[in-house]
Each structure stands twice: as C-alpha cells, then as structure tokens.
Point group: C2
Chain length 346, copies 2
Amino acid sequence: MSEPEKEVTIYDIAKKLNISAATVSRGLKDHPGINKNTKKKILNAAAEMGYRSNSFASSLRKKHSNIIGVIVPRLNSNFMSDVIAGIEKVVNEANYNLFISQSLETMKKEVSNAKAMFNNRVDGLLVSLAYDTTNIEHFEAFVNRGIPVIFFDRVQEHDQFPSIFIDNYKAAYNITTHLIDQGCKRIMHIGGSQLRNVYSDRFNGYKKALEDHNIPFEKDMAIINNLSANAGSETAQLILKMPVRPDGVFVANDICAVSCMQTLKKEGVKIPQDIAFAGFNNDPTACVIEPNLTTIDYKGYEMGEVAAKILIGHLDNHDDLHQTHSLILRSELIIRESSLKKSKNI
Amino acid sequence: MSEPEKEVTIYDIAKKLNISAATVSRGLKDHPGINKNTKKKILNAAAEMGYRSNSFASSLRKKHSNIIGVIVPRLNSNFMSDVIAGIEKVVNEANYNLFISQSLETMKKEVSNAKAMFNNRVDGLLVSLAYDTTNIEHFEAFVNRGIPVIFFDRVQEHDQFPSIFIDNYKAAYNITTHLIDQGCKRIMHIGGSQLRNVYSDRFNGYKKALEDHNIPFEKDMAIINNLSANAGSETAQLILKMPVRPDGVFVANDICAVSCMQTLKKEGVKIPQDIAFAGFNNDPTACVIEPNLTTIDYKGYEMGEVAAKILIGHLDNHDDLHQTHSLILRSELIIRESSLKKSKNI
DNA sequence: CTGTTAGCGCTTTCAG
DNA sequence: CTGAAAGCGCTAACAG
C-alpha cells in the first residue's frame, strides 16, 4: 500500500506552469480578466496533478464557509426527513454544504447544537424548535454577527428571524368544522406542547371551531401529550374508560391518531360510526390504516426547499431577509373515511 | 440595528491578558502543561469578549476538518432517516460535524457528491450506494489520500472499504422458507436492482429456499422493479391478470409490499388465504396494514450508530479499519398475519 | 509553564 | 491580463 499522496497546492501548479499562484487562483475560478488559454492550461494541470482546492484556506481568507446549518428536533420522522430532503436538494444545487444536527426535542441539546453551528461558522441557519424550548436566546449570537437564521414549521416570533410555516390555526379550524359537519357533538382534541406554535395554533383552531358552532369547550376533552404512538394507545385506554365517550377525535398528528385508532378498534370501537377521527400531517400510515385517516396535508419537502431557497437567496444575492418575514405555505384538508359518519358508501 | 460585531481572535485575548497567543491557544484546549489559573483567566476573557474559535484556521493548520461526510440514496425513507439519526447522535457526541448529501439514487449525483465531499476535506465518509451505481471508482481518491470510507447497507466488496450490513441472503432464505412452511407452492418475488447486494442477496436467498424445498424456480415469478409504492400497485395489476396466480409473494421491501396488498385487497383478493405476503424492513406501515405484514426487522438507527462509531474510532484512536472488514448486523424475521395461512386464529 | 516564530493555502489589493 | 506581497487565525516546534 502506497502512502497517502501529497496534497498539491496552487503553488505546485504555478511552479509547473511557470506562472504565479495568483494567476492559478484566478484561473481556477470564474475570474473575469484572465486569458482563456492560461485558464485552460491551469485547469488541465490541476486535473492532471490531482489538485483539490483547500476550502479551509479559502474560507479563512474569504471569511465565509459555504455551509448551511440545520437544527431539527428529530431526523427520523417522516415529515422532517422530507423537509431535510428538500433542503439538501436546494443547498446541494447551490454548491453549499449542509451541516445537520438534531436537538432530540430538548432545549439543552438545541442550545449546544446552536453553539456548535455558531463556532463552526455556518453562513446561515435553518431551525425547527425542540418540544420544550422556552426561549430562543441561543440564537442571538447569530444576529449579532449578522448570520441569517430562519425558522420553519416549529417557529417563534422574532423580529430578526423570518419564519416559514402553515396556517395551523385555520387548518385545525377547518378539520374540526368538518367533524362537526359530520354530526360530531363531543369532539376530543389530542395535542402537543403548547409552547410550540404548531400545537397551540391547532388547539386554538379547534376551540374556535367549537365556539363558532355553539359547542361548549370542555377542559377534559383536551389531552396534551407527546403525540407519540405510545401516547396514542394510552389515550385510547383513557377514552375506553370514559363514562361518556367522545364521538369525534381530532389529533394533532397522524402517528398518534393511527395508534389511538388501532387500540380502539381492537376493543371493538367502530370508526367512524362510534368515534370519527381526524389527524394532521398526512403521514404514509394515514392511507394504510382502515378506515383511511382524514388529515391535513402539507408538504415537508416543499417547506424545506422554500426555506433553503430564501436563505441562499439572501446569502448569494443579499435579498432582504426581513421582506420575507412570516411566509405561510399552503396546507390542505384531505377527507377520508375515518371521519365520514354521514355517507358510509365509500 | 448595530453592525455585526467584530470577530475576536486569540490575539485580542492575548493582548488584553498580556500573554502570548500561544498560551491562549493552549488555555482554550485541554493542553497538559498549563497553569490552572491562567487557563481560567483565558476562559473567562474569551467568554466575556465573545470569542469563538476559528475552525478554518485550525483546520488549515491541523490538516483535518472534524467533519464526517454521509452520502445516501435518499434522506426521506423511513429506514435511511433512522440510519442518519443514529449517525448524527454518535458524530455529535464525538464533537464531529456532519455533512449530508443524497445521490437521489443516481450514480451521477453520487459521483458529484463524492467529489464535493472530497474537496471539502471530510475526515471520513459513510456511504450507502445509489440504485444504479455500477462501479465505485469515485471513491478511489479517498483511499489515495488515506481517508477512510465505510459502506453500509447497500455495500460493495472492496479491500479498502469496510462494509456494514445484514445477512440479506439468510433473511430472505428464512422468510421464503416460512412461506413454504405455511403451504405456499407458487411463491413470487418482487425485487430491486440486482446491482445492489441487498436486492441480489434477497433474490438469491429466495431462490435457494425454493431449491431446498424442491420447488422449481420459474423466471416469470420474479419481478424486478424500483420497489416504490407505484411499482407495488402495478405489480398487483399484473398479478390479477395472471392465468395462475401465486399463492405467496415475497417483496424486497415493505413499501412496495403494502401498496401491492392494498391494490389486491381492493380487487377482492384475500390475504393470506389466497395470497400470503412477506416484506422486508419492518416499516411503520407494516403493522398498520391489515393483515399486518410479515417482514424482516433490522435496525437502521443501530446500523448508523455502529458505522459512525467504527469510523470515529478509526479517526480518533487509529483503530485498524481493516480489522473491521464486513461487519454483519443482526436481523430478525417477524411473523405477522399476512403470511399465516395455517393458523387463522390470530 | 510560557513565549517566539514560522507557516498551513488561499485571495486580494496594488502595481505593472 | 499577470505578478508580488500581505495576511486571514491558528498551532506546533523549539527554546527558554
């Protein structure tokens, strides 16, 4: 086995071609005033000698890294991995690199990840907040250094950070209204941490829909948990024990909804006849569970693309970031059998 | 709004403390011989002045980046996002950073991503191959420079690159044998590109199981497609049109299996009575589809952790990478109702 | 335990 | 269109 090859630098190329390193540097880029011929010579020599540019030296000199950082609660959720895929595509095409880290839903890790991103000098940051994050001071360092930060999905109001999300309030309002239209009178809500806009907005949309249809909101018809599959089946157990059961349930995500449905079905509850169900996210399981789950569809992939595009547009073209404050993406109510109490002939 | 703060360097700290930059550099690290008191002073000053280390300068000097690169076919598959989550955890805890890119299942993109990773000087690379990759010359540059590359899941034999995967052959053999045990006589296989070990091994395990049970392998009982949901329902259409239908199907992934089952069910095919089903991966949808899908479980998260640990162990402790050649992880046959022709009382 | 010094490889004025 | 020279911020000998 041969030893690792020696790294070749622009000086090596320069020496070989009897020109200066500066010219080589120019030749390797899209520098305007440079002889086409010398440029070609440089490129050839570089390829031949196995040259690779040293991004550290370049970054050190140019004071930026060409790296975009991403902090998300978890990488392994269907929605998030779609978002990341969208981000990666845009970032990759724009010739940036992507640093990724997950907060594992804790503020502690989110803070340490933010610090790491800061120290590693990302040029911009994309963030979706952890479950229990109570403040966003850990992103202040970025504004002080003029590094753009964009929130998506799980966002927080801040006059320096644009946010990209969907209208959770309206979506929840619509889906709850749909349940009411189907004849539900006692609608339960299973939601997540009210610290997060996505869950508080959904909760509020639900309450507003009840109110607008003269259905009193009862406190014990709202359950807040972590929206996991486990939480779903636990809540199902709870429902089974209720003296008067709900006739409709709106869950703030599909994972939890599906698992809740499964447990109830096992105990003989008929869906949607006994209890109608609606979820949120349009997870792949939503069209596998029987009956298929009514839900809100919104595109993670697209959200990732949009977030990355805005960030990179700002970085490359100095688009004004503030102009973009609060971009609201489209979401869509998808009605499936799990909520159709009226027309059973599906 | 104030202008971006000036970056503070170790020289600024040195000047303020009337010591040398070298001492500051040492104080900031775990350098052995350094006075506890000066170290404390340095740390304090650094915090107070808002110092952040310059990773470019450090990398330039030290000639390594503390960055691990990952190239996967897609980010947004349940399995892959689990793997990435596992990788991220280990990498993050080891204080490395993670560059992530996806080949979108094409060799072309894989090559360009590998080049980018190389030029950006990752310290090590984790790779799962694209659907249509025919050779791995694009990773030769890494061995020439002594940069470790590890393949996982979709691997390729190479005497310089360790591989981490499961025994796809045996798993497929077992699951096919299980179908045979359930009384299946005409078992179809739906598989993926035979360029990839995961799919060819599964195919071969299937054939071997048939052979060992004196069932002749018929060419038209094997379908190769891209294993997407679409491909699943298309294959279902094909099955419906067959003069003699199979009584069992082993699909090389769950996504495709589930979608195939859904289409068949819609057309009145009884599963498992008419056709028994088995998949691969233990995707979340496998325990939502009815009947629940028999499948092979293997842990993406764990595979990611293991791959990252080996890579980082090599980087940090100079573990011999070749010692680790071909690590085979555990997988498990999970029997569910979709394949139980005999005992229906589940 | 601390300081001096050199240099990692690149980009960018400034001059020609 | 090309060259000379300086310097980005850090670390690692080496010397004391």
